[in-house]
Symmetry: C2
Subunit: 137 residues, 2 copies
DNA sequence: CTCCTTATCAGTAATGATTACTATTATTAT
DNA sequence: ATAATAATAGTAATCATTACTGATAAGGAG
């Protein structure tokens, strides 16, 4: 006995959420994760999805992505990477290039354990659309 | 006449919001901005604050900061800079060091117009607390 | 294997930040 | 000044997320 800690138990609903995250490469919102989870376990509840998304992000098994849009997005692939968000269509693209952490930060005595870099702009598709528009004007 | 565009008008409530943002260096939440605006114009409404915060961030006159916490924060100082968030106390520190935008992004054809980098870790105060704790254990 | 503790769940109710709405006010061009 | 309409105060509505509750089940101890 002694020190019976609050530990994580394995459960099917949680596994379903993890599986959905692992199989998704489009940075789904919580609701989209819920919809996909329901295809596997139709009676999974919203609360379960939200609770597990929170637990998983807190334990760094998933990434929380706040892009400035209405909803939060989730990424089950935790290899270090950044994201590019198209301001026109909202598409999120993975950027597998490690951004340099400014030395200034550690010089200030701050201890950095994580970083989240989001780049904004226009994706290839939307970039082209703009060009066409300009021609019309 | 011709082309009567939707233009921004100057208004006192909007000026109040701008002034609060300019005078705040602690990255206030929308509600904090509202509280501070009320000290200047007691009958300013929440809707006005939210609407103007949205307009100001859309026009890049203010920065929207989503740190993973419960609320969004706002920063009226738009000189290019990043932020450091303490995972313990939540304090947000300005980092005036420009992070390098990975070349890979433009190589992918993506057009970058903005970037938001948030670093997470422990501030000087919380770092020290942890040290003391470790000694006890 | 059985018992026990309690983490987790499904389902539902509640929360509360943000947005929408509406009648009114105020800004700017003419 | 007048007209046109952007912006506001105040309030109601929205809806993503969280909290709650009784039931279930994971997993350690014996």
């Amino acid at each position: 006995m002694a020190d019976t800690r609050t530990a994580a138990r394995r459960s099917y609903p949680r596994d379903v959420v993890v599986r959905v995250l692992n199989e998704s490469y489009d940075h789904p919102t919580a609701y989209t994760v819920y919809e996909r989870a329901r295809k596997i376990k139709p009676d999974i509840s919203r609360g379960t999805v939200y609770r597990n998304l929170k637990l998983l992000t807190e334990s760094s098994e998933a990434l929380l992505l706040e892009t400035g849009g209405e909803f939060a997005h989730y990424d089950g692939h935790t290899e270090e990477h950044s994201h590019f968000v198209c301001k026109k269509c909202g598409e999120i693209t993975d950027i597998f290039a490690k951004p340099r952490v400014p030395e200034e930060i550690s010089e200030m005595g701050l201890v950095v354990t994580e970083e989240k870099c989001i780049y904004y702009g226009y994706c290839n598709k939307c970039k082209e659309k703009d060009k066409k528009k300009e021609k019309k004007l």
